[in-house]
Amino acid sequence: MIEGARWRRWIFFNLPLALFVIGLLFPFYWMMVTTVRPDAELYRPWMAPNYTPFWTLNPTLDHIRYLLNKTLFNRWMLNTFFISVLATVISLFCGLLAGYALSRLKFPFAGSLGTGIFITYLVPQTLLFIPLADIIRNFRLGDTPWALVLTYPTFLIPFCTWLLMGYFKAIPRELEECARIDGATRWQAMVYIVFPVAVPGILSAGIFAFTLSWNEFIYALVFLSSPEQKTVSVGITSELVRGDVFYWGSLMAGALLGSVPVALIYSFFVEYYVAGITGSVKG
């Protein structure tokens, strides 16, 4: 490499990358610092001489203790987990079959059906919750986890279907044809050959669906009302903001603990996830 290349690499690659990473990680850092900051420091005015916004010298676990003992946080985590897993399983199952059918089977209107499903994904949730609220009320599902388990698939199924459709299309048709000549029925060829090859795609659809349900806010806010039914995202914002009083320490502790499961899932499946998004199938 030439002499000037090193600083150029720093300016155009390392520096922007560092800024980007810092920008992305800063909210997490802020959550962590606020979580362990004692109330005395939290409410100190910013012009005070001993004001230290970016670190704390007296870390405390009080906020976490409050969150775990004085609120229904554990219950919210369980609720969220239950709803997210169920909604993901339902959506993945439907998305798998729909995606396979739309990408592989020949039937009338297959193309327009695919587009139709995509369009439903484009309808914003902020509009969709109004008619859905009516449906939930009619079925008497309000304030139960089923209100979310059954409404989350309205945006998760189109999403999973679309993602998996693209993935199935990338799998050579001959694989399946070969399996069918080898003695497999269409169903067996799908289960033994296509699905295992599509595992990266299926996993990334699953991770996405899980994350979307875990982070969902508006349906959870509208369809659930009693504190013990709430999900994490709604629970901490409604129960830890009382009137104009913000329990900042516990709020941030809730946000931090609430993002742990998703972070864990991503870190375990990151390789599959990348392969699923870039859609690579190696023969």
Partner: protein
């Protein structure tokens, strides 16, 4: 082992008539090659035999059974695909065993069959590997192995060697031939490569635009092409064509064109007498042209100007200009010729081909 009969087979995709009235009887243990340019319907025909495409009309019989409506799994066939179609998530062993497992064979039978096939193909060492860890040639062997273990009634090959490099292709060609000789399973092989067709096939079916042009043994196609297309398709380098006028003069029939004046031998003259006064297409194979010597008469030779020289080693190809036409002559490697040289080429009068200009059929 079984014969395959294709009767009045047609396939239409919406507006495209891909396969037109194909009739073919493939005998038990025969190796038949379907050859033709892309889009000629050869692969579609094969896929209909496999059951991967529906039949628009006609019948396909495997053994004595009409299989028109049977799903692929019930036809007792094995197919080798161009892109190998190995199951990427399975080891080589599992790839080969899959068909047997699906058919409910017991473990020991599967193991012995896979082992036997792996031995034939020389891939015993690779059984535990995944397809992505194999070279192209090895993958092709696995694909072959997957077909062999099943002991099917018919092998179907869909351009299996197209993805291999030239050297490996020749090697695998020989191997496929050996395997067929050893197992004796009826085989239908699709390729666009006429050399592959000629070397592998007991009989070759030449197709174009969905129609069968000619069915015959390789040398039959080479020596007695049914029409201009087959004549041009079979043989490398391809046959030379020129439009000539037929004339009756000096008690003989002559084929004439700018730069060419050939006296037809008596046997040919009889067949072409009715075309006197009209035009026909003359075909001469490059290997039937040679440098004229003093003993060659003017009746069977013509002047040519060398434009390009291709030295292949075993022979030299001379691209020459004859009047308005260009022709290729495959001559002895000892011939010394330079570009722009004017030379006299002699032809073998017994190996001239004539085709009708309208129907393209051989005369």
């Amino acid at each position: 082992m079984a014969r395959v009969i294709i009767r009045d087979l047609n396939k239409k995709f919406d507006a495209v008539h891909a396969v037109k009235d194909v009739n073919l009887e493939i005998h038990d243990k025969e190796f038949v090659v379907l050859v033709g340019p892309s889009g000629c319907g050869k692969t579609t025909t094969l896929r209909m035999v496999a059951g991967l495409e529906t039949i628009t009309s006609g019948d396909i019989l495997i053994g004595d059974r009409v299989v028109n409506e049977l799903p692929p799994m019930d036809r007792d066939i094995a197919m080798v695909f161009q892109n190998y179609a190995l199951y990427p998530h399975m080891s080589v062993y599992d790839n080969m065993a899959f068909g047997l497992k699906m058919r409910g064979f017991d473990r020991s039978e599967i193991a012995s069959r896979v082992k036997a096939a792996a031995e034939i193909l020389g891939i015993e060492e690779q059984l535990k590997r995944k397809p992505r860890q194999l070279s192209g040639g090895q993958r092709q062997r696995v694909a072959l192995g997957r077909a062999i273990v099943r002991h099917p009634q018919v092998f179907l090959f869909d351009e299996p060697l197209s993805n291999l490099d030239a050297k490996l292709r020749i090697q695998m060609r020989v191997e496929i031939k050996k395997i067929h000789d050893r197992l004796g399973t009826t085989a239908i092989y699709v390729t666009h490569d006429q050399v592959e067709a000629m070397t592998l096939g007991d009989r070759v079916v030449v197709m174009k635009d969905g129609l069968v042009q000619q069915v015959g043994e390789p040398l039959e196609l080479y020596n007695e092409p049914a029409n201009r297309f087959v004549a041009g398709f079979i043989g490398s380098p391809a046959m030379n064509f020129a439009t000539v006028e037929m004339a009756d003069a000096d008690g003989a029939i002559w084929a004439r064109h700018e730069g060419i004046r050939i006296k037809l031998p008596a046997e040919l003259a009889g067949r072409l007498r009715q075309h006197v006064g009209g035009k026909v297409t003359l075909g001469i194979r490059p290997e039937d042209l040679r440098l004229a010597s003093g003993s060659d008469t003017a009746d069977f030779s013509f002047d040519a100007v060398v434009e390009v020289i291709e030295k292949l080693g075993s022979q030299i190809l001379l691209d020459v200009r004859v009047g308005p036409n260009t022709m290729v002559a495959a001559v002895e490697p000892t011939v010394k010729a330079k570009v722009h040289d004017r030379l006299r080429l002699a032809l073998n009068p017994d190996r001239l081909y004539f085709f009708d200009r309208v129907s393209q059929a051989a005369i």
